[in-house]
């Protein structure tokens, strides 16, 4: 769930833009390097971005029947790495503003921060550390995607709480409120996305092992089945 246009006051919106910009500059630079080095890599990067966008506009099947959208950031970050995902995530969010009316220009900085920076790095960090601990691919991917989603929503709740502290209990109260509302809607969503991402990676593992090897997600051919 992205913060809508105009929801954050001007000072907060520009502050989050400022916080996002160094990560974005870094991400764009590394994307530029990938594009320069290899003509094919440029198109693959573009295709990955298009894939990430379609994924982000997807409706997840859920028990309650309400439409729930995944962020796709967990899968993207595991496949392409967090640096590239930051840039792709930024463009995905921009397209969501332009084509779907989700989020906004002034809040694009805040939304990029929560989804494409915090989400992507959490996904990548969790995935790498769980893999290093020797857990299976499936378990690592599940926790990476689920925790990335949760981290994104916690960051969003924090951004809203900072902008609108509770009149009685201040920041902590506001954080509790926004987290409470998000917990109802987003925890099931995070788990569904974790599940879906795991299933997708399973399909990759059985049908497109080379792709995973090329992307560095798995290290050797003989790796045990998830």
């Amino acid at each position: 769930m992205h913060i809508m246009e105009g929801y954050l006051p001007a000072s907060h919106a520009s502050g989050w833009w400022l916080a996002t910009s160094p990560f974005l500059a870094w991400g764009i630079r590394s994307a530029g390097k990938i594009m320069k080095g290899n003509k094919e890599a440029k198109l693959l990067l573009g295709a990955s971005g298009g894939f990430a966008f379609v994924l982000s506009a997807l409706k997840l099947p859920s028990v309650t029947g309400s439409s729930a959208h995944p962020t796709g950031i967990g899968l993207g970050s595991v496949l392409f790495g967090p640096q590239v995902m930051c840039t792709i995530g930024f463009v995905v969010l921009l397209f969501q503003v332009m084509f779907l009316g989700h989020g906004g220009i002034t809040t694009l900085g805040a939304n990029t921060f929560s989804m494409a920076i915090v989400g992507a790095w959490v996904a990548w960090g969790v995935f790498r550390s769980l893999k290093a601990l020797g857990l299976s691919l499936a378990v690592s991917v599940f926790f990476a995607a689920t925790l990335a989603d949760l981290a994104t929503y916690i960051t969003t709740a924090l951004q809203l709480a900072l902008a609108f502290p509770d009149p009685v209990s201040g920041l902590s109260g506001a954080l509790a409120k926004f987290m409470g509302i998000f917990a109802l809607t987003q925890v099931p969503l995070a788990i569904s996305e974790g599940l879906l991402t795991t299933l997708v990676v399973n399909v990759f593992h059985s049908h497109g092992r080379e792709a995973l090897l090329n992307l560095g997600v798995i290290s050797k051919v003989g790796e045990s089945k998830p």
């Binding site: 105009g6 006051p9 919106a13 573009g46 298009g50 009685v168 409470g180 509302i181 399909v203 990759f204």
Partner: protein, 247 residues
């Protein structure tokens, strides 16, 4: 997904992208910094008139797009209206808060008018024109190329994905929750392979036509209409003027 993009390409203001970008971004700025009453309300009114009578967006389309973020607005504002406090003696207390109500009113009005200014932009200016402008103000080339490529691919992928989902659902792949997850995950995986395949095929197609790593497109040089521009400046100043007179 194509609704907004389609109207951006066929509305009445299609040939004045620079002026519309100036007009709508100015309105967005006004909605953000002026006191919501009357500033934001005036922006909302102006945008509605511009979109319906200037750009000739059908009212049904305009209001449908305007109401898209409604869920976020309702859920987010719910938290603003109530205040919570936690006390050792009284426990958790949730109360209706007057101050919160005031904040909610301000935020809702500001958001709706900011969204309206934004959709005036998205419904009247196609992405290609925004890319042209980005290139002129020297946005890093890597970002522009990524945006162009993603724009090129996303409609193709959306079509592939829709046909995958349809093929699965006619074979009862979404009969229950577990099957839905299974079908959806294989559709996502297949989409990924198709996407990578598309990129490779595009590459070899381009390569055979002398691709040097750069994708050049022809941009139409547009004349900026000074009448439109003066209109935009006037609109901004009238809103500013009324706001300062009434407060």
């Amino acid at each position: 997904m194509r609704l907004i993009d389609t109207w951006a390409n066929i509305n009445n203001w299609r040939h004045h992208p620079i002026e519309v970008i100036y007009l709508s971004m100015g309105l967005l700025l006004l909605a953000m910094i002026l006191p919501p009453m009357p500033g934001a309300a005036l922006v909302l009114l102006t945008v509605t008139l511009c979109a319906l009578f200037g750009a000739r967006i059908p009212p049904f389309i305009f209001f449908r797009v305007l109401l898209l973020p409604l869920t976020f607005l309702l859920v987010g504002s719910l938290a603003l209206v109530f205040s919570v406090s936690f006390d050792q003696s009284t426990g958790l207390e949730i109360a209706f808060s007057d101050q919160g109500m005031q904040t909610a009113k301000t935020v809702i009005l500001r958001s709706i008018s900011a969204v309206s200014a934004l959709i005036l932009l998205t419904l009247t200016v196609p992405l290609t024109e925004i890319i042209t402008l980005m290139r002129r103000v020297r946005v890093p080339n890597a970002l522009i190329e990524l945006i162009e490529l993603m724009y090129r691919f996303l409609f193709i992928f959306d079509e592939i994905f829709a046909s995958l989902l349809k093929a699965q659902s006619v074979r009862l792949g979404y009969r229950n929750l577990w099957l839905s997850y299974r079908s959806l995950s294989s559709a996502v995986a297949v989409l990924f392979f198709r996407a990578m395949d598309r990129a490779r095929r595009l590459e070899s197609g381009l390569e055979s036509r002398g691709y040097s790593g750069e994708l050049r497109v022809l941009n139409v040089r547009r004349k900026i209409s000074s009448r439109f521009f003066i209109f935009a400046v006037l609109v901004h100043f009238i809103i500013l003027g009324i706001t300062f007179i009434t407060i």
